[in-house]
């Protein structure tokens, strides 16, 4: 299997081809079997490959499986090659298994849709591309997957192409992502220029050879621009909330669990480069913290169930970047994994809610759903506890580790404290808006129409099973990363840290990729998180558990400025429109009007000349075929006499 890693992405790709080419004709059953089957096949193959990897490589070496040489030009080139190492494997497991569960969920969720085969073929293609992204052994090949997932994201956001907003949202996602991709491309050009290769291993070696400096900082910053685009960080986060126009499973798979974490993966993958450049790390950490706080505040004032989750995703991605920025790469991946579990669960749960509500997404019209859809409710509750950082749930350990690392970062102590403070506030907001969402949706009285209430029903098995699996993972997923503080006394190792150790290459003259947090800050952070989570819970419960939306109205009355700022997302979209889109549009218009006139004028002149010439020559065009033939053959005769 290790020499056939290409099979893992090929399975869903096969599904994409089958569904895309024959799906319409062969019906929904076929599409479901192929779509879900190939996803699970890829998951099983991936697991098998992992099993073989574990038995072949004991020290977490990097295994590269070259399929063929992609191109080689002037000594610069790269291969089509897949790699397995501990980091890839973590991503592989998350992507394939969570992806498969979401495929399964989609069978139930999308069943009534017309473009069922279209949906599944895109989803399969996404999975294939995501697997290329995480299994590719070079930046360039990963970039193929990177662009591929961007394309699938675009296609799936615009899935409801009959509506106005979905294609626009897809376009927005694509364009914003392009800005990030541009950064990534430039980073790769720099790599090609400086190291002559974009292979992960070669780049690492090359960077170590070059040493810290402006070059590495440049590469890192540019790469982070790419990560910002893909992972929705400030200032390129604006596409993600809009991306909720796509079907809910898509939001769960692409815009919560897998694709948006690609930026984090990229940063962790390039940890050697980042460790060489504290400047770049500081930027990453600060942007992450800013995003986390910023998005969390917006999340408080949103009323669309998916929008809340979307901002929550942005905020949580910010947390991951905090971790990556302060040098706690294990914490970043840890949070990535737990986030994949609970956020996928939340999105799928919200999908189930929307399904039950018959398409309604506004939480002000929900409420009291607890008794109508119990399975959804319980899984949603567990995931909420997990994300809020309730003690012992998955999010608790990971978020706690991030904040503790930020507090104790050896790279930039003072900025670390700032980041920690911002992160802590964001965590408080997180707990608050998540419980607000939970209570508004599930507690209190039903606020929708009578018809909707009559319609309420639990979702089918294909939807609840993934929910249950993901909820259990949210509950226990944190156990792969028990903090040292507890671990020492309980004799439980930090599994993930141990597993990822080989990825965080030790380099002379550089700090290690993982650092131990002293007990004291850890205790502070842990206690702080617990208190914050409980505070957020208590506050949300007191406001929303019974009184419905009254608290929101009060908020609007008491603090109209803040409320509308949050509700309108700090007017960022409007701001971008004013400072980027409008001027660009104006400039383009000027170019169009002025240059068009000049160039067109020149061309018209040329055309006029040609036309005048044509007026003379056209008398040869008699319309009679035989005349043409005659001219041709006379020409041939003359030609022979002249030239032979």
């Amino acid at each position: 299997m290790l020499d056939k890693l290409a099979l893992i992405p090929l399975m869903p790709f096969l599904g994409f081809l089958l569904n895309g080419l024959f799906g319409r004709r062969l019906g929904k059953t076929f599409v479901s079997i192929v779509g879900v089957g190939t996803a699970f096949a890829s998951a099983i193959l991936g697991s098998y490959a992992t099993w073989e990897y574990v038995h072949t490589f004991h020290d977490g070496e990097r295994h590269v499986d070259v399929v063929y040489q992609w191109f080689l030009s002037g000594g610069v080139g790269t291969d089509i090659a897949f790699q397995l190492d501990p980091l890839s494997i973590v991503m592989l497991m998350v992507v394939t298994w969570v992806g498969s569960l979401i495929h399964l969920y989609s069978v139930g969720y999308m069943h009534e849709e017309d473009g069922y085969f279209r949906y599944f073929s895109y989803l399969n293609l996404f999975l294939a591309m995501m697997l290329i992204l995480i299994l590719g052994s070079s930046y360039l090949f990963a970039f193929v997957g990177w662009e591929g997932v961007g394309l699938c994201s675009y296609l799936l956001i615009g899935y409801y192409y009959q509506t106005d907003f979905a294609p626009a949202a897809g376009k927005k996602a694509f364009v914003v992502n392009r800005i990030g991709d541009f950064g990534f491309l430039l980073a790769m050009f720099l790599m090609f220029m400086a190291f002559g290769s974009v292979d992960f291993g070669a780049v690492e070696k090359g960077a170590i050879g070059v040493g810290p400096g402006a070059l590495v900082t440049g590469i890192c910053v540019l790469m982070f621009v790419g990560a910002c685009g893909k992972s929705a960080q400030m200032p390129l986060y604006v596409w993600l909330p809009d991306a909720m126009a796509g079907p809910t499973p898509v939001s769960a798979l692409i815009h919560a669990a897998t694709m948006v974490t690609a930026g984090v993966y990229l940063v962790v993958r390039s940890n050697v480069l980042f460790r060489m450049s504290p400047t770049a790390m500081a930027i990453v950490a600060f942007i992450g913290a800013l995003t986390a706080l910023f998005a969390a505040t917006i999340g408080v004032a949103q009323n669309d169930i998916k929008k809340v989750l979307a901002y929550s995703t942005v905020s949580q991605l910010g947390f991951m970047f905090i971790a990556a920025g302060v040098g706690a790469y294990v914490a970043a991946i840890f949070h990535l994994v737990t986030h994949a579990f609970f956020k996928a669960c939340l999105f799928l749960g919200s999908g189930s809610v929307i399904h039950a509500m018959g398409g309604e997404q506004d939480i002000r019209k929900m409420g009291g759903l607890r008794k109508h859809i119990p399975v959804t409710h319980w899984t949603f509750a567990i995931a909420t506890f997990a994300i809020a950082g309730f003690p012992l749930a998955a999010g608790f350990f990971s978020k706690d580790e991030i904040l503790a690392s930020a507090l104790a970062t050896p790279y930039f102590a003072s900025l670390g404290k700032v980041v920690w403070a911002m992160g802590t506030v964001a965590a408080l907001f997180t707990a608050f808006y998540m419980y607000r969402l939970y209570y508004l949706t599930f507690a209190g009285e039903f606020r929708g129409t009578h018809e909707q209430e009559h319609h309420l029903h639990e979702s089918p098995k294909t939807m609840t099973i993934p929910l249950i699996v993901l909820a259990s993972l949210s509950a226990v997923g944190g156990l792969i990363g028990i903090p040292h503080l507890l671990g020492h006394s309980l004799h439980i190792p930090h599994v993930l840290e141990h597993w990822l150790e080989p990825v965080l290459t030790k380099v002379a003259g550089l700090r290690d990729g993982a650092f131990a947090v002293a007990e004291q800050p850890e205790i502070i952070v842990m206690a702080g998180s617990t208190i914050l989570a409980l505070a957020g819970w208590w506050f949300a419960k007191s406001k929303y558990a019974t009184r419905g939306t009254a608290a929101d109205e009060a908020f609007h009355e008491n603090m109209p400025g803040l409320a509308s700022t949050w509700e309108n997302k700090y007017w960022v979209d409007e701001l971008y429109d004013a400072i980027v889109v409008k001027p660009l549009h104006g400039f383009s218009t000027i170019c169009w009007k002025v240059f068009d006139a000049i160039i067109d004028g020149l061309l018209s002149l040329a055309a006029y000349f040609i036309a005048a010439l044509g007026d003379i020559i056209r008398f040869f065009q008699t319309g009679n075929v035989r005349n043409y033939a005659l001219m041709l053959f006379l020409g041939v005769v003359v030609f022979i006499w002249v030239y032979v």
Binding site: N624, N627, L630, F633, L634, V636, V637
Partner: protein
């Protein structure tokens, strides 16, 4: 000697029947004469040690293409179309051009002694050699030709459709 007899017999047949193709007023006769001409060309191919091509010549030209011609002539009932001579200058120039072309090319063929290169080399042209050549050196043109044929099929279908998009537009969809 025997070969020469065959060559001259069939060369004469080819030329005579080709002349009939060009001159005869009746397209059916022209088509049948062309078949005979093609058949004698196939004989030429046999004389040139290329029996495979000879068989192909008969199958493709005589067996398929000319049947198609005949079919179309019969379908459109073109046998008795009048063709009064118009455009005498064109006619005259045409004959002149053809004649001068023939004189030119035969003159140069006789003049240029490219043909006496010291005896023909070894020439194997059985089906195996042709197949190997076609599927190795000429695989790309071969595939290209297959696409060309597909395009030709589609083109022919669309052109000969009785209710094509063009005619429908012309009839105002009143059919």
């Amino acid at each position: 000697m025997f070969e020469y007899l065959i060559f001259f017999t069939f060369a004469a047949i080819a030329v005579i029947f080709s002349a009939i193709v060009v001159i005869h007023r009746n397209p059916v006769v022209s088509a049948l004469a062309l078949v005979v001409s093609f058949f004698s060309l196939a004989v030429m191919y046999v004389l040139l040690d290329a029996p495979f091509m000879a068989a192909l010549q008969v199958i493709v030209y005589a067996g398929a293409i000319m049947v198609l011609f005949l079919f179309v002539i019969m379908l459109l009932n073109l046998a008795h179309t009048e063709e009064p001579i118009t455009r005498p200058i064109q006619q005259f120039l045409g004959i002149t051009a053809a004649a001068s072309f023939a004189i030119t090319i035969i003159y140069y063929l006789c003049k240029a002694a490219v043909l006496h290169t010291g005896g023909p080399a070894e020439f194997v042209s059985d089906a195996r050699a042709i197949g190997v050549s076609m599927f190795e050196a000429y695989i790309f043109p071969f595939e290209a030709v297959s696409i060309l044929l597909l395009a030709a099929i589609v083109g022919a279908l669309i052109l000969s459709q009785r209710t094509s998009a063009i005619t429908e537009a012309k009839d105002g969809g009143a059919r």
